[in-house]
Each structure stands twice: as structure tokens, then as C-alpha cells.
């Protein structure tokens, strides 16, 4: 790449260079047209809606006032909605809760499908393996409402998992109103619901590892552990790294649906995350404050992008692969 740019720099004429580039990559430009058109028309055109976050939004009015264009700019040079969020007494609490849950996710939910895929890879019986794959991905298809009502029942005083906990020496209580139990339940049930589905990408990546490498390793007398460390993991490393970067790049995005369904007054102080806070403000009584919730959304995205960039930079230094 660098060598090329040095050679290109010697050519003086910009127009000609563009011409050359287009000529050389003509097929690629042709292929890029539908992609660019799609993004511009379907995704970027509506993006003027982002302006709403900087406005003191008044509902749309058929006389032409209000709405996204007609509303006045917010205070603080348009940043009033952001300031309102930063000054909200719940700001630090929701940020803390969101990051906490996200980090737990990165530590436990993220590796779970990888470990599962690796373990599944060691199952020799093909039929058994296919059955496991097909069954473990089922919970992904059960609606969140059904899943969460199950979780709540299981952790109530007489619930089956509470019984298991008591059997292991824990206290008999309703764990759904226990602040300390909320996060483990949230993350643990997420793994239960998502591990099979999440492992599909890794199973597919595992299948494209060159089998000759294993044959060679066996001849060299390498045990299973060595094969794992030297062949299998490096074989899916780029997938893991990319997905990890994207995971870190969504640090402030914890979905609201499950939070809303699992939380109650007792756990709200640890359960409340940015998205559920926005949801509470948008869909409670009466109407919603579109401007405020989209300002929160933009804040979320900006922080996410910062984390994405940091993770990407580190990854490029360490593993030489990255998103961009």
C-alpha cells in the first residue's frame, strides 16, 4: 500500500490519476454503484432526522410549523438535550449499569459461544453433533416475553432454580428481587438463550480450517491441547477478533426489552440501562420526547464509536487485523 502511494505521488495530474484508477478498477466501481446507491438513498437520506436531537422539538404541525425542520434549536447552542441528559440525576447510574452489564457480557457472554463451538468441534459422532447444534439454537427463536417469564418463575421462592440453589447451600428467597442476583441472572440467561445461535459463526469458521494442518500435527505427535492452541484457535482468531471489536463497539448498547421484562422496583437501581431509561421516557404516560431520546441515542453511538476505534487500534497493533 505504502509503496504504491509513493509511486503514485510521482504522477502529477489528478484527473488522469482518477481516470487511471477508474480504468484499473472499473469492475469494482461498477459493483460499488448499487451498494452506494442503496446506502445513500435508503440509509443516508433519512438521516436528516438526526437534527432532531439538537432541536427543542415541537410536534409536527400541518400548517408547516414544528416538526424536525420547523422546531427551534435547543439551548446551549443546540446541545440542550445532551446537557439535560448529563444533568439528569440518573445519568451516572444508568451509565454505570450499562457499562457493568456490557463488561459482564464481554467477559462471559462473548467467550461462551466460542468455547461451546470448540467443545462441539471435539464431538466425533456427526449425528450427535448435528442434533446438539440444532437444539442449542432453539432458545434464540423463543420470544423474549416467554423466555423472561420463565426466568422469573424459575427464580421465585418456589422456582426450580431457587430449589437448585438451596440444594447447593444458598438461601431460599425470591432471587428476582435480589439486587445482587440481577446481573448474574441477566447475563446467565443471555448465554442460555444465545450460546447456540452465537456459535454458528464460529462453527462455520472452524469448518474452513485446513484439515492437512491437523494431519501434520498428529504426525508430529501433537496432543489435542497443542492442536487447539496452535491450529484451531489461530484458525478462527480473525473472526474472534472482529466480533470482539464489534462487541466492544457496542458497550453502551444493552437492549431494553429484556431489562423491561426482568426488572422490578427492587432491582431497578441496578437494572436500569440507557435504553430502558429512554424507553421509560418515551413510552410511559402521555407522549414522548423524541428529541431527548434521540440525543441520548447519539451520545450512545458516539461513545460506542470511540470504543470501537480504541479496540480496533489495539487489535491492529496486537494481531494485525482490524475492522478498518
Amino acid at each position: 500500500m505504502n509503496e504504491q502511494s509513493i509511486t503514485l505521488k510521482k504522477k502529477p495530474n489528478l484527473g488522469r490519476r482518477i481516470g487511471d484508477e477508474i480504468k484499473r478498477n472499473f469492475v469494482l466501481y461498477l459493483m460499488a454503484i448499487p451498494v452506494i446507491v442503496y446506502f445513500v438513498v435508503f440509509v443516508y437520506l433519512p438521516m436528516y432526522g438526526l437534527i432532531i436531537a439538537f432541536k427543542d422539538y415541537r410536534p409536527f404541525n400541518r400548517m408547516g410549523q414544528g416538526g424536525i425542520w420547523g422546531s427551534p434549536w435547543a439551548d446551549y447552542y443546540g446541545f440542550g438535550n445532551f446537557v439535560k441528559f448529563f444533568q439528569s440525576p440518573l445519568f451516572w447510574s444508568v451509565i454505570k449499569n450499562t457499562i457493568y452489564i456490557s463488561l459482564l457480557g464481554t467477559c462471559f457472554s462473548f467467550p461462551a459461544p466460542i468455547i461451546f463451538a470448540l467443545m462441539l468441534n471435539e464431538i466425533k459422532n456427526l449425528k450427535y453433533k448435528k442434533i446438539i447444534q440444532t437444539i442449542t439454537y432453539l432458545p434464540h427463536f423463543i420470544s423474549m416475553v416467554v423466555i423472561c417469564s420463565m426466568i422469573i418463575r424459575f427464580f421465585q421462592t418456589e422456582g426450580i432454580l431457587t430449589k437448585l440453589i438451596t440444594l447447593l447451600g444458598g438461601e431460599k428467597q425470591n432471587y428476582m428481587i435480589n439486587e445482587d442476583a440481577y446481573r448474574p441472572i441477566f447475563v446467565g440467561s443471555g448465554i442460555w438463550q444465545g450460546v447456540g445461535w452465537g456459535s454458528i459463526i464460529y462453527i462455520s469458521a472452524l469448518s474452513s480450517i485446513d484439515q492437512e494442518l491437523y494431519e501434520a500435527a498428529v504426525i508430529d505427535g501433537a496432543g489435542k491441547w497443542k492442536q487447539l492452541v496452535h491450529i484451531t484457535i489461530p484458525g478462527i482468531l480473525s473472526t474472534i477478533v472482529i466480533l470482539l471489536i464489534m462487541n466492544i463497539g457496542s458497550i453502551l448498547s444493552v437492549g431494553y426489552e429484556k431489562t423491561i421484562l426482568l426488572q422490578n422496583d427492587k432491582t431497578a437501581s441496578v437494572a436500569r440501562v440507557i435504553s430502558s431509561y429512554t424507553y421509560d421516557l418515551s413510552f410511559g404516560e402521555g407522549n414522548s420526547d423524541f428529541a431527548y431520546s434521540s440525543a441520548i441515542g447519539i451520545f450512545q453511538s458516539v461513545v460506542n464509536i470511540i470504543f470501537l476505534t480504541i479496540a480496533n487500534t489495539i487489535s491492529k497493533k496486537v494481531t494485525d487485523s482490524g475492522l478498518f
Binding site: 436528516y48 404541525n61 417469564s149 428476582m176 422496583d265 437501581s269 421509560d280
Partner: protein
């Protein structure tokens, strides 16, 4: 290479930016006069109607007959039901051509119905029409009194043809208990706290591990109105209307006398093991299961979704299973409950006429039809001889026979209509409830509810009529459930988002303390301290906002 890609990038970025501004479209402002022989009507299709196999409301008997009787043709536009139910409406309001008639819950319009009028979406009926001539029957119901307050905006505009809860029955939920067990234990239906305590003790002794099971929302401080045991302490829940120095005002339950005693009673019951230890998280299906499986002896719920669901499930296993609705508990000194959940006179769900509608008079005439005697019967009971028969009965025992409508077997035996339930059979032909027109008609309810226990509950949970019996009551009177009930108030945009923000801030924390006190983890003085804090942090301001809205309401 790098520079080149930069040039191309910035060019493309510029193109994106420019294209983004194309989205600045102006809305259509045209309105064309028509002869009013045909209108478009934006209305959700009822789930029961769909389940009965209809594809469009135009196939419904009600609308075929209405077209015959009014001479007005309707083209239906049915929105899909989304998660919050509002997306379809939000986008409909953006469309260049509005439907002529819009059925919507206008409180959900950003800024309320007044804003919808100001935005030019719908018309103020009283400004464009002489309602007494264009819709005399509707006008007759809403021209004054509480009904007028309930269907007008703060500035006194009529925004549509509302769901009017005209039926004499106003209650719909309350406490219920196993009647078969009461008989077995030789006990009467409990009417006050002492009798309830005795019942719970007996139940616990007889092997019911959680004598009383109910969801937190039916117990805690924040839900509106009343649900049960609080009535014994002469206190409501949430925000309600009460007498403050001779004037009706919005008050907040936790600040009222009696609330702490109510909470103390719950805690005492919890300690004795009478209340479901999972009350903080219990879901409706678990409550149902507790009742069916002899784990609980009493609960709180609705006539249809609780009693109507528990009975069939339980009778399947135990033919002796029986439930009875209990009256709201009286106070210690024996006076009847003033607090009870009940319907407001009207809801904000209404057929409104859009600004673009081509003929306001004709549209009003069509909307008015269901408020006429003929239209009411057609919408609620269908055609005589086919869907209902008329009976003369004296139900209230005053010696005078009243006209009653009884559904025929086409409805009462849903199989005859190829339907799975009475509700489906009803909504296959007509729209007896939840649509603009006459709601909560007693004959409809008697036909809708299958079990005698439910029919009894309608009577037991009915709200006593205003004591002086007049509609134009003293606006400051607060001694009946209806007068205590917080009416549907309208808030400005700023007010409602402020209320939401403050509620999010303080509600859960106070709720957590409530749970802790019931469970015995915290004391009543902790509760009082928490209430003080919550007041300072938010509820004081919420109360102010609500009172301001209530003042505007009273002044209508």
C-alpha cells in the same frame, strides 16, 4: 493514493449531505368539498373480528347495515397493531392525505387532542358545526356535566365522538375468593379486615400455603384508584381526588392518612405467611395457577381476565371449584368503601373528523348514528331476531319492567357462527365495546360474561351511584368512588415529559421501600422517610402539575 481517496471521499460526503436536505417535504394543504356519500375511516380492526375470519370491517354486518341506514359508504383503512400501537398512527398523521374519519386514542397524540386540533389534523366539532343539529343524539349525551368535561379539551373544544361509558355498571375489578372453601369452612364472604384476617388464618391452617396472591401493581402505592384492602383504611392509591379544605384536589396516596396503616396491615399479613412471598414479581399466569391448584384462596383481578380464565381451568380438574366476588372492604367502623376502581365517564378514544374530510356535516351524521337508539342497538346487539331478542324484565326490583336485549344462539353458542368464543362471535357481527358509541351496556356485559360468578361480580363490584343522584353534581364533592377517581386530564407536552422524567426518577426507589416494608426488611419509619425524600425529589412537582391540569379540567 491516499490523497486521491480523500478527494473522492469528500466529494461523496458532500453529495450525501446535499441529498439529505431533499427530505424537507411540505405537507399537502388541500381540502376538497364532497357530497359526503363516501368516507375513508381509519380504524383498527378488532383482534376478535380478525380471529372470526373477517378480512376487513366492510364485511361486518354492522357496517353493511349502517350503510343501508345512513346512505353513507365507508372505505376502511386498518392499521396494523405495532408494539406500542402508536407507530402506525404517528406515520398516518404525516401522510399527505388524511383519512376522513380517524378513530384514535387522542390522549396519545403528542400534546393531546387540543394539539391535534391546533395542528390542523382534526376539526373542533363545535367550531365547524352546530353539534345540536349535526349530531343531536351525541350532543344530548355530552352537552353538559361531567360528560362534557370528559370529552372536551381544556379550552372547551369537542374533538370527536368518544367512547361513552353510559352503562349503569362502572366497576370491573376487585377481590375474589373461593366460594366452595367458604362454604366448607362455614364462613361468609369477608367484608372487612378482621374477616379477611380470619379467612386467611383458616386457609393457612387448611393447607393453602399462600392464602392471598396478587401482583405488586394491585398492592403498591403507585397505581391509580384503588384495588382492594386500602379501601378499609379510607385511602386510595396513586393519585386521586380528595377533599382538601373543602375543595376537590389531586392528592397522592402515600401522604394520606391511613396509608401507613394499610401498609402495616400488609406487612402483618406477610409476616403471618398469608401473602404470596413472590408478590413483587408474580405474573398473572402464576396467580391463576395458584388459585387453580389450591395454593391460594383469594386474589385480586378483573371479571374477564381473572375470573373468566380461572374458572374454566379449575372446573376442568375440580367440578366443585367456585369463586365469588367480594365487596370492597369496609372501614373498621363499618362505613362503606369510597374508593374503588371504576370507569371514567368517557375515554379519549374517539372518532374524530379530519380537517381534510370533504363534508363535515355528513361525517358528523355518520359518527352520530351509533349514539341514536337504533344505532346503539345495531352496534351492541345486532339485528332483532337474528342476533338478539328483546325481553321485558324487572331486574332492579322497582316493579317496572325494563327493556333488555338478549343475544341469540348465534352469539351465545359461538359454534353456530364458526367462532371459538363468544367474544369472537360478537365481534364478527358488531362492535359492542371499546369503540366510539355506547359502552359498558349491562345487557352486553351479561351476554359477554359466560359464568354466573362473573355476572354476580358485575353487581358486587358496581360502584354506587352518586349519592345525590344528579349528574350536575357539586364539583367539589368527593364521597363516591367516581368522584375520587382521577379524570382523564390533559397535559401540555412539557408537562407530560416532565411527569415522565420525574416518575422515572423516584417511583422505583419508593416502590422498593414499599416491598421491603411489606416483607419486613424495613420499618414504617423507613417508609415515611422514603416518602419524604421521594416527595422532595419529584412527587411534589408531579402533584403540582396534576393539580394544575385538574384545575383546568374543573374550569371547563
Amino acid at each position: 493514493m491516499k490523497k486521491l481517496s480523500k478527494v473522492i471521499s469528500s466529494l461523496a460526503a458532500l453529495a450525501l449531505l446535499a441529498s439529505a436536505f431533499v427530505g424537507c417535504g411540505q405537507q399537502g394543504q388541500t381540502r376538497v368539498e364532497t357530497d359526503g356519500s363516501s368516507f375513508t375511516y381509519w380504524v383498527n380492526m378488532d383482534g376478535n373480528t380478525k380471529n372470526a375470519g373477517l378480512q376487513n370491517n366492510s364485511e361486518m354486518m354492522l357496517y353493511k347495515e349502517m350503510e343501508k341506514n345512513t346512505g353513507i359508504h365507508i372505505d376502511f383503512i386498518h392499521p396494523a397493531e405495532g408494539t406500542t400501537g402508536n407507530e402506525a398512527a404517528t406515520t398516518m398523521f404525516l401522510d399527505e392525505k388524511l383519512p376522513d374519519i380517524i378513530k384514535y386514542s387522542w390522549d396519545a397524540y403528542p400534546g393531546g387532542p387540543q394539539q391535534a386540533i391546533d395542528d390542523g389534523v382534526i376539526i373542533a366539532l363545535n367550531k365547524e358545526l352546530d353539534l345540536s343539529k349535526a349530531a343531536p343524539e351525541y350532543w344530548n349525551y355530552v352537552k353538559d356535566g361531567e360528560m362534557k368535561k370528559a370529552v372536551t379539551t381544556d379550552s372547551g373544544d369537542y374533538y370527536g365522538f368518544n367512547n361513552l361509558n353510559l352503562g349503569e355498571t362502572k366497576g370491573f375489578a376487585g377481590l375474589y375468593v373461593r366460594r366452595d372453601k367458604l362454604k366448607e369452612w362455614n364462613m361468609d364472604v369477608p367484608t372487612n379486615i378482621d374477616e379477611w384476617t380470619a379467612l386467611f388464618a383458616k386457609a393457612k391452617e387448611s393447607g393453602f400455603s399462600k392464602p392471598f396472591t396478587a401482583a405488586i401493581s394491585d398492592l403498591t402505592f403507585s397505581s391509580g384508584g384503588s384495588s382492594g384492602f386500602n379501601t378499609a383504611y379510607d385511602v386510595g392509591r396513586g393519585f386521586y381526588i380528595d377533599d382538601v379544605d373543602g375543595k376537590a384536589e389531586v392528592v397522592f396516596a402515600p401522604l394520606q392518612e391511613g396509608f401507613s396503616e394499610y401498609l402495616a396491615q400488609l406487612a402483618a399479613w406477610y409476616k403471618a405467611g398469608y401473602i404470596d412471598p413472590d408478590f413483587a414479581t408474580v405474573a398473572s399466569d402464576v396467580i391463576m395457577s395458584n388459585m387453580v391448584n389450591d395454593i391460594s384462596v383469594a386474589s385480586h383481578g378483573y371479571i374477564g381476565s381473572a375470573i373468566g380464565k380461572i374458572l374454566p381451568a379449575a372446573l376442568d380438574r375440580n367440578p366443585n371449584f367456585d369463586l365469588v366476588a367480594c365487596p370492597y372492604p369496609t372501614t373498621a367502623d363499618g362505613h362503606e368503601s369510597e374508593f374503588q376502581v371504576c370507569y371514567n365517564p368517557a375515554t379519549s378514544t374517539a372518532n374524530a373528523i379530519s380537517w381534510q374530510c370533504g363534508n363535515y356535516e355528513k361525517a358528523a351524521e355518520w359518527c352520530n348514528y351509533v349514539y341514536t337508539e337504533e344505532g346503539m342497538v345495531l352496534q351492541l346487539f345486532g339485528i332483532e331476531g337474528e342476533h338478539h331478542t328483546v325481553e321485558m324484565r324487572d331486574d332492579d326490583g322497582d316493579g317496572v319492567e325494563e327493556k333488555h336485549y338478549v343475544y341469540t344462539d348465534l352469539i351465545a353458542e359461538p359454534k353456530n357462527s364458526n367462532c371459538n368464543s363468544v367474544a369472537e362471535a360478537m365481534y364478527k357481527y358488531m362492535l359492542p365495546c371499546n369503540y366510539p358509541g355506547y359502552n359498558q351496556h349491562i345487557d352486553y356485559l351479561m351476554g359477554y360474561y359466560q359464568y354466573d360468578q362473573q355476572k354476580e361480580a358485575i353487581v358486587t363490584w358496581n360502584v354506587p351511584a352518586n349519592k345525590d343522584g344528579t349528574e350536575a353534581d357539586d364539583p367539589n364533592a368527593t364521597d363516591t368512588p367516581q368522584e375520587h377517581q382521577l379524570p382523564t386530564l390533559s397535559y401540555t407536552n412539557e408537562e407530560s415529559s416532565r411527569v415522565l422524567e420525574l416518575t422515572t426518577l423516584v417511583e422505583a426507589d419508593l416502590g422498593a421501600v414499599f416491598i421491603d416494608v411489606v416483607m419486613g426488611h424495613k420499618s414504617l419509619s423507613d417508609w415515611e422517610a422514603a416518602v419524604d425524600k421521594a416527595m422532595k425529589d419529584g412527587y411534589e412537582e408531579i402533584l403540582e402539575i396534576r393539580n394544575a391540569a385538574f384545575d383546568r379540567y374543573q374550569k371547563k
